[in-house]
């Protein structure tokens, strides 16, 4: 291919001439150092290239080598347990190659070319196959069976397929198509900016259980749904993202550290191999792919990292898995866009962000969903996207937050005031919402209990009433409230401290099953019922407050999943203690 010549270098943006005939978003290698870049603007003979690596030392006159292909990722066995940078270079291999610091112009394949995988065919010679059909499997990790699919665009009859140990480069099958015989390898390439095809989209109506009480009970997200977590720094965004990555009941987790802290990625790298998946007992890392482009790594690669991540996620979705993708944080991605846009001297929109910010954000989240995948067997796969947003100063009027809220269905509003009170997760229950609450109702009715939905409504009513009453208390003091309102405050406090508050670092409290969530909530509401009855029998709130059972309720969340019967015991104690109060009262009388 014809080579171009650099005319201008400004930070991550390089302009080259002699580039006519190149396509938008094709990859070009810049200078003799062969720095990877992507064409983002064409003007006559000139092409603007965003370069994914540091451009220090590059100057006009140096060559540019177009590749004629768009930025693509490699999809095949070896993805799981990997940690990639924003353009899918495996960071572990880079370290082996160049040491502890990421230097420039390192070129390594995303998938190990030498490693052999045991391929077990599922199709046989003579089968008619179409794109998306599974022709065989590879046990990639104990948790993940990697399904080798016919790549999009290939259709025909299998002429050869065999079991055995192969590298990703070896052909495992041959298909006779209308255009001749095609070899099928275990990996395929896919351009990151193009969504992978599927047959049809379905409504996401199954909850993704996260083990986080405030999320599952009050603001659920579904498999195939979208959610966003905006919040000021220090409000626990990253802890929530980590908790979701750890505990959500997805088959595959893709975690994108986009422009965030290096140590946080290390934390994930060190912790995930040790943490056990609550369902299988295997290390969580065995179902995880990490994409890490930390804040000090080149900004253009940060822009690409979310696309790299979501393309990998779609690939696993296509196998029929439920995939959860966490992007922390999409604000950094938007800022990368802004930086590049600024260097292109585009007319800025709000706050200097490019005018196409909203469109880019929307099309990113729209890649989520529950779908019928390609292939004859009509598999169902889902991709849930959860994006963190870091608005400056915690201001929700920020363009990135607003662009995100227009498309996502769940909003977990992080509140730094809650965080200061060390109420974690610091999700504000008054301002958050989930549009999936009614969608998942059928599932909860069937799987947990038909009264769960009404209990949620009741609990939320108590909490919003509390907010109203607090206004009054602030003005006239608690004594001015009626007894029943005072009781409500007591119960609301219990809901907040004993249900909503959840300690991510406590061995039991970190994960709560739906069943336990139901029982805990029921326990608190049961206490409320009984206490209300007691009020009617002339017991005062002051007396009720003294009951030791409150403390038992407070500690109920620390009861482990296999000892849930203890919760029944607490219920009995509630009965006894309240009965005792009422009994004592009538004796006095």
């Amino acid at each position: 291919m014809k080579e171009g010549r650099i005319v201008k270098v400004a930070g991550p943006l390089v302009v080259a001439e002699g580039m006519s005939g190149q396509k938008m978003y094709d990859v070009a290698l810049v200078s003799e150092k062969r720095l990877l870049g992507e064409i983002i603007e064409l003007k006559g003979d000139l092409a603007s290239i965003q370069v994914y690596e540091e451009t220090g030392g590059v100057g006009p006159g140096e060559p540019v080598y177009p590749t004629g292909a768009p930025l693509s990722v490699e999809l095949g066995p070896g993805l799981i347990e990997s940690i990639y940078d924003g353009i899918q270079r495996p960071l572990d291999v880079i370290r082996e190659k160049v040491g502890d610091f990421v230097t420039r112009g390192v070129s390594v394949p995303a998938l190990d070319r030498n490693r052999k995988w045991h391929f077990v065919p599922r199709a046989k010679v003579g089968d008619e196959v179409e794109p998306g059909d599974i022709i065989g499997t590879v046990q990639e990790t104990v948790l993940v069976e990697h399904r080798i699919m016919v790549p999009p665009g290939v259709r025909g009859k299998i002429t050869h397929i065999e079991e055995g140990d192969f590298t990703v480069e070896d052909p495992v099958a041959r298909v006779r198509t209308g255009k001749g015989e095609i070899e099928i390898k275990m990996y395929q390439k896919w351009p990151v900016r193009l969504p992978r095809p599927y047959k049809e989209k379905l409504l996401p109506d199954i909850p993704m259980v996260t083990g986080q009480r405030i999320i599952d009970t009050f603001f659920p997200v579904t498999k195939g749904g979208t959610a966003c977590v905006p919040g000021p720094f220090g409000s626990g965004k990253t802890v929530i993202q980590h908790q979701l990555a750890k505990w959500s009941d997805a088959d595959i987790v893709i975690y994108i550290g986009c422009g965030e802290r290096g140590n946080e990625m290390t934390d994930v790298l060190i912790e995930f191999p040790e943490l056990k998946d609550p369902r299988s007992g295997e290390p969580l890392m065995k179902r995880t792919v990490l994409v890490a482009n930390t804040s000090n790594m080149p900004v253009a690669a940060r822009e690409a990292s979310v696309y790299t991540g979501i393309t990998i996620a779609e690939y696993f979705r296509d196998m029929g898995y439920s995939v959860a993708l966490m992007a922390d944080s999409t604000s950094r991605w938007a800022e990368a866009m802004r930086e590049i846009s600024g260097r292109l001297e585009e007319m800025p929109g709000e706050e200097g962000y490019p005018a196409y910010l909203g469109a880019r954000v929307a099309s990113f989240y729209e890649r989520a969903g529950r779908v019928i995948t390609l292939g004859k067997d009509r598999r169902e796969g889902s991709l849930t996207v959860i994006g963190a947003v870091s608005p400056p100063g915690g201001d929700l009027a920020d363009p990135v937050v607003q662009a995100t809220l227009r498309v996502v269905k769940v909003f977990w509003s992080l509140d730094d005031k809650l965080a200061y009170r060390r109420h974690f997760p610091a999700i504000n229950w008054l301002t958050s919402y989930s549009l999936y609450r009614d969608t998942v109702r059928d599932y909860l009715d069937k799987e947990i209990s038909p009264d769960f939905y009404d209990m949620q409504t009741e609990a939320m009513r108590i909490l919003s009433k509390e907010a109203e009453l607090e206004e009054i208390v602030r003005l006239v003091g608690i004594e001015a409230l009626s007894e029943s309102d005072q009781l409500l405050l007591e119960v609301a406090r219990s809901l907040r401290e004993d249900f909503l508050h959840q300690n991510a670092f406590h061995e039991v409290d970190t994960y709560t099953s739906l069943k336990k969530q139901y029982l805990l909530l029921k326990l608190i509401l049961y206490m409320y019922e009984k206490a209300k009855e007691a009020l009617e029998r002339g017991i005062t709130v002051r007396e009720l407050r003294q009951l030791p059972v409150w403390e038992r309720i407070a500690r109920a969340k620390y009861i482990s999943e296999d000892e849930l019967v203890e919760l029944e015991g607490i219920k009995k104690e509630i009965d006894n203690e309240i009965q005792g109060l009422i009994g004592g009262k009538s004796k006095e009388a």
Binding site: G56, V58, F101, T294, R332, E497
Partner: protein
Amino acid sequence: MKSKVLSGENLKRLREYRTITDVSGPLLMVEGVEGAKYAELVEITLPSGEKRRGQVLQVEEDKALVQVFEGTTGLDIPETTVRFLARGIELSLSPDMLGRVFDGLGRPIDGGPEIIPDVKRDINGSPINPYARDYPNEFIQTGVSAIDGLNTLVRGQKLPIFSGSGLPHNRLAAQIARQARVLGAEEEFAVAFGAMGITFEEADFFINDFKKTGAISRSVLYLNLADDPAIERIATPRVVLTTAEYLAFDLDMHVLVILTDMTNYCEALREISAARKEVPGRRGYPGYLYTDLATIYERAGRIKGKKGSITLIPILTMPEDDKTHPIPDLTGYITEGQIILSRALHRKKIYPPIDVLPSLSRLKDKGIGEGKTREDHADIFNQLFAAYARGKEAQELAVILGEAALSDLDKLYYRFADIFEERYVGQGEYEERSIIETLDLGWELLSMFPRAELKRIRDKYLDKYLPRFKKEEKKEAGEER
């Protein structure tokens, strides 16, 4: 991006030009340049013979845009010459740097000799591979209760101090530098200190403090004072961190880096951005401020298989004590927590005036607990926080309703908040509390509550520790160990 980046035939060719076309603010444009590279270092010779340094910000064909570190005063268009040095800004490094004082670009200003380099490094460094990082989890005892107990610092962390004008952030930073140690280990320890635009008095305070305690012999100081060229500040933190990386990862030292004041750094960055007529972000700061700050802060950390570490404490003064100002805001998104100083506490004459509620150390959970500090640390920390927060709320309420309107329990919290500020947060500038003393102090203060109120502490710790403090005064004397 080591020294090999800008190499080759250019080195041999002398590329000197007298073709400046415009000078505006700290920037100048040179034309007819052959082979200029982005980020290349240039030497500018003034008509007076004075030499200054600059860096290429942008190259387009034969035109190079250069930022001049020492400012453009005295430059002219016809006479000034610009020489392109075919390399980035490099710093000479050697173990002899310890105990020395340099200017903001790394030239000695203490009258000592030039450093004979062991190695030369580009000051921009390269990002640490996230895969090579080792997680910071070694507790650093600073001897300050509000930090050790509640916002624990660990090795390899970056924990900024958010302060305001007139608050004693420098005294606190010096105290941390003086007292910081890792329990049970005597290891090579060094301080790399970078001053950006601070006054002579402030710089003098640090130098004297370091001298007094003997810390100077294991310190490297880079000073860019208020009257030094502002643009030079852009290089200063990078120079400091390049030194720190050398000390930590080449010489196996544990390096504490103090950068003060980052606000001045950001303003210099804004100046350049304005001069380049870039589209401004919030409050006129460039849109890439986050990325730029990240390339500084993220150089802290530990690396697997290396003994040394870089712990970073940047200090910044928040304009109008506003935490949502872009500088503290973006910093908070990059660093692993923040220590916030409070003017209200300072007025109450509490030193250090650390506002513990909004302060946070994100890495504390990995640095505390059994084998690191003590098993009860996490619980007591949670309980102290919750109790103090509630006490503060009670105090706010009392302002509106009067103290009499509070419930008995809230009155207790009210009192606790006061005692807590005075005894736990407050301590002497030269008082060094061990972590055990800090934890025990926490128990002692909490023992004023009935046991049922201590919900955040696990029963087993309540059983184990609480009885020892329940009989308040009597116990106090026998508590040392």
